[in-house]
């Protein structure tokens, strides 16, 4: 069974923003994405975390219609990605490293947005550029990484999209630019009730802003769901060395480590574990993500 979002939704909105079923993408003989099924509810901020090359960009680029899946289907707000200009207008995208037209000025980029979109918040965009203290006449090719990311975010937001997809938006930024970027993003999300999917190879980049999480490794989705629900349904158990690995009290062993005759395991279960030999601890998000990333290295050991 492939990971699906747990049923609990943190807000009242029940409609699905992005619904992917068995999405796969192959380049020659290499699979960039395999059988990815996810359901992203509207109005949430979803963090997509995984190592470089795990398939995050591939998934996001399929969602915005820049890539075509080799198999599977995806609907965004009920329609195929990039099906027509109306659908393109509903989805904002910030590509990795924030590509811009190097020889065009900041102002040209705002004009470009106005000419290429039927819905365009020109005043808002101009206001944001003013707040960022960007020179309207400066060529985009000479902007710093942080300024480029901010300009690209401004373009994506000025479309007034319903869904915003951000591919590694803060990867190349220094800590200050990172903070500014995230602050602005969160202010916009709060104001316009956007659905956001943002990826990073670092959990720390996205855990503060996301309420949902998707963990990817080796072109597959390892786990996906509401963060609070995920944390509530996983236990960190420490007890005597145990082989073969079976979780006390049932549940799926996600990852296990042996050390000095004791075994520490991350177990997915909704029931409390009552076994005098085992002590139960709470997981933090990082331990949870690491457990799922480690799972790929020893899949047979965790088979229940």
């Amino acid at each position: 069974m492939l990971p699906k979002f747990a049923g609990v939704r943190s807000s009242g909105s029940a409609s699905v923003a992005i619904d992917a079923i068995d999405l796969s993408k192959r380049y020659g003989r290499r699979w960039a994405l395999q059988q990815c099924s996810i359901e992203i509810p509207e109005g949430h901020v979803v963090g997509l975390v995984g190592a470089n090359g795990a398939g995050k960009s591939t998934l996001l680029r399929i969602i915005v219609g820049l890539l075509r899946p080799s198999a599977g289907t995806v609907t965004v707000l009920g329609h195929p990605p990039a099906a027509d200009p109306a659908q393109l207008a509903r989805v904002g995208f910030l590509a990795q490293d924030a590509p811009l037209f190097g020889s065009l000025s900041v102002e040209d980029h705002l004009r470009l947005g106005r000419h290429l979109n039927m819905r365009w918040d020109g005043e808002g965009a101009a206001e944001r550029i003013r707040m960022l203290e960007l020179d309207l006449d400066q060529r985009a090719g000479t902007l710093s990484g942080g300024e480029r990311a901010q300009l690209a975010l401004t373009l994506a937001l000025a479309k007034r999209p319903e869904i915003l997809i951000l591919d590694e938006p803060v990867a190349g930024l220094d800590p200050l630019a990172r903070r500014d970027f995230v602050e602005r993003l969160m202010a916009e999300v709060a104001e316009h009730h956007l659905t956001v999917v943002l990826s990073s190879h670092l959990l720390s980049d996205i855990e503060k802003v996301s309420d949902h999480l998707i963990v990817m490794a080796s072109s597959r989705v390892r786990v996906a769901g509401d963060i609070a629900t995920l944390l509530a349904s996983h236990r960190l158990l420490t007890g005597p060395h145990r082989d073969p690995l079976v979780a006390p009290g049932g549940g799926e062993v996600i990852d296990a480590r042996h050390h000095d005759g004791t075994t520490t395991m991350v177990v997915r279960t909704d029931d409390p574990v009552v076994d005098p030999d085992w002590t139960t601890g709470e997981l933090d998000l990082e331990q949870l993500v690491l457990a799922y990333l480690a799972k790929r290295r020893a899949p047979e050991a965790t088979a229940s």
């Binding site: 820049l66 990039a82 393109l88 590509a95 811009l100 037209f101 020889s103 004009r111 470009l112 000419h115």
Partner: protein
Amino acid sequence: MIWLTWRQWRAQALSALGAFIVLAAVLAYTGPHLVHLYQASGIAECQKANGDCGPLIDAFTSHYPLAHVLGSLIILLPAILGVFWGAPLVARELEARTCDVAWTQAVSRTRWLSTKLVTIGLGAVGTTAAFMIVIAAWSSPFDKVSANRFSPAMFSQRGIVPLAYSAFAFALGVFAGAAIRRVLPAMAATLGGTAAARVTVQQWVRPRFAAPFHISGAVFGRGASPTVASNAWVVAARVVDAGGRSIQVRRGLLRDTCHIPEGQFGRDSLRVCAQRLGIHEVLTVQPANRYWSFQIWEGALFVALGVALVIASFVWVRRRIG
């Protein structure tokens, strides 16, 4: 979309316009002098009198070596525009990943590509047309005295075919850019592909647009024999023996075969000897009145190839990229 297309192409379009204005100014300045030189050369009178005008023509054409440069410009311009305007059209966006921006705005890829293709494609054809018209006007005294417009070199410099070459080279550049996805290799492919297509058509396709005439005549005759109209295209000339096989004529061999005495050896005795042996020259000729139908055939051929490449480019941009 037109705004973005123009904004991205503006610098190149204006440089082309600047180059055109400079050239047009130079040609407007030197043109009247060239006409004057022609009138003063006496070539027109000489030709009316059916004299041997070769030395006069040589003297006149040596005045402006620029004419050859301009001729080469018309031949090269379609390929240059295909390389610099066509090839980067998709490839540069893919290389700089700006297509990630362009293709996620509320404009379909079809509209993105068609706007660019129409605007810049018409720009390329129009640029070629503008350069050709001013250069042809300036060169008209030269065209009068020397060039046969149906000859392979001149055929591709005048009429409608340069415009068709331009449309073809541009479409080839766009397609190569979409298929190869890298600017420099796409440029190289465009240059190579345009050259290959034009040489192939000129050498092997153009002579077959209509069945040629074959004209026989004596070898070692007076002047250019056998005689054909000066504006006809002599596709091939070969010397054949009585059995119709192509041969190389060696004067020494003819002299020995016919036992021409030492004192009588010359063009007249050789002609008589060749006639006796049945050796004659055969010209493959496309008559002068086929010039425009050949222009239309060749123009249509390149436009058709260009249309096929445009269709392929749409398929690539819509379906293959991504």
